[in-house]
Symmetry: C2
Subunit: 180 residues, 2 copies
Amino acid sequence: MSSPETSTFRDPMYLELFGQFKKTLTQLDKWLEAAAAHAAAKGFDPAVYLTLRLAPDQFPFVRQVQIACDTAKLGASRLSGKDAPKHADDEQSLEALRARVTSTVAYLESFSAADFEGAATRRVTQPRWEGKYMLGADYFREHALPNFYFHTTHVYALLRHNGVNLGKKDFLGTLSMHQP
Amino acid sequence: MSSPETSTFRDPMYLELFGQFKKTLTQLDKWLEAAAAHAAAKGFDPAVYLTLRLAPDQFPFVRQVQIACDTAKLGASRLSGKDAPKHADDEQSLEALRARVTSTVAYLESFSAADFEGAATRRVTQPRWEGKYMLGADYFREHALPNFYFHTTHVYALLRHNGVNLGKKDFLGTLSMHQP
């Protein structure tokens, strides 16, 4: 909990926003833990979660977790120029997905505000854009931010839809509340 | 599409982030339009959408749309001190929900950067917090931002789960891409 006297808001606020991604991924890890406990209590194979989909032409659960991690990881890497750890996308268990989350959180923890100097005007691209680019500020706001919450929310929604006992507090985590 | 020479990134960037919320709500309106077309094509009553849930103890579709709108509306109001339009939460059709979205977008369009001066250190509270408060920067990052995408993504996910033909591009909208 931060002190009321020291707002964490600075310019650029990328560090805080990736800090928020880190917080959400830390919550996501708890959802995976709850999913494992639910499978154990009901006596089903927790690997079943990995193939769940809300629609047959949406990515399955395992891919939702992978993309949530990669949106945070590649977002921070592209905006800072810092190399990101490689992941093979070969997870076949909740434990392996939890390790993926842990690795992503550790990478996000390696950043300082200085890493994001100039990020707003950095040119960001990826192979599928065929040479086109976005400015860092636009990329973060229009692409990384909504994609990150799109995929983390799908992870959460898939678990809720399949009976895992989660609530909004598990999505948000602890809030920086102050007494008057 | 912004020019590469003029990044829209400023401090504080609340105006741009609420601009992103506005963009997502504009996309959400298109999802509702697609939902209506899907109902017409399949010959079912579009009011059915309003009661859909992904889990019996989650809010139904109608409430997900209302909260998505209110997270944007009340977030901007609380961070700026500008009065927000009142909504009765009595929508009973997709058309009424689309009007709610339109009204929220119009409110967000009324803001300028100056409205958010001092927002980061403003004390934000709401009745259910029983006197406790959050600083504006923390409130935006930890509460408004994840809640907004949580509820918009649930709206999208409920429609996808029920056969409406949407894809990621419909979620993100047009990206500010530039030719090299």
